[in-house]
Subunit: 198 residues, 2 copies
Amino acid sequence: MSLLPEPVAVLIAALGRLPGIGPRSAERLALHLVQSDSVSIECLAESLLDAKKRVGFCSICGALTEQQPCVICSDNGRDPSSICVVETAVDVINIEKSGAFSGRFHVLGGKVSPLNGVGPEDLRISELESRLHDVKEIILALGTDVEGDATSTYLAQRLSSKALKVTRIAHGIPAGTGLEFADDLTLSRAMEGRREMQ
Amino acid sequence: MSLLPEPVAVLIAALGRLPGIGPRSAERLALHLVQSDSVSIECLAESLLDAKKRVGFCSICGALTEQQPCVICSDNGRDPSSICVVETAVDVINIEKSGAFSGRFHVLGGKVSPLNGVGPEDLRISELESRLHDVKEIILALGTDVEGDATSTYLAQRLSSKALKVTRIAHGIPAGTGLEFADDLTLSRAMEGRREMQ
């Protein structure tokens, strides 16, 4: 007979499905939660439902938003001639934080991954193609893993017939670290991507 | 202007208050949750509320339970002559898992900790004293830190006038490890607690 009350076991299972939460962490969290006061647990449950209810994806670019279209797509001050293509809605937030880009975004919703059964038709590529009028540059800001590389190559080929420039963000040594922390692939990419100093 | 929708920021704050969840993890979890399907997020919110609503503390021993009194307190097969005193309701579950104890439990609800403003009167000690009829042994299974030591000593003194034995669980080298992994204090406690081999 297990001493763990059934609702606690259900909660542990639900928490264990979250990314980065293992079975031990899920148990620790669940037992903390049932022992904490009602207000904080209700506040957590409410913020979960509230976030899900109020936050959706922008119908144009696919970023997280409370309004349609999102603040970026409805901002006339942003450069409409360049679109930055990213994998997930979270990437939009990260690039915006950096302040390095002033154009529009387009969220693919993943990357081509035959092993996981994700083909180009599962991504928001035709939605991207319908946005290409007046666009002069597509900046691919996908991951640097095998699938990110394959998706970038695929997109560059598919868009090559259009009258626009397709670029990919640079890969190299991260800012603020020495060469000793970079792996071989990063080093060889950094070498390939070298630029003449002014 | 932050791109993070306000309900997501609220959710990140709520998740960040959980133990072991730092700001980065909270952000990652929240963004995963708002991007996942409605069913899984509702299931999580519901299991939170359900666990809090249905699970409470046993009125006798203080363990987590769905019924009053809990399954251990209402089990006549368990030895009523020994009570194992623990800090939290979770400790009961852990000791039960080990199968090493067949008596009753008593949850103190913490340990004496002057720095955190927790005195003996904040713990369930008088509740323990009201359960002492027919009890022959009190087993103290509190932590081995300074506060656990102080609480054990305090309880042993306070209960010394009663006609019962007060014992404390052994501290020493954990099972399955070598001496090289034990710190000085653990080694000296293990030495103190040595027993004659049969």
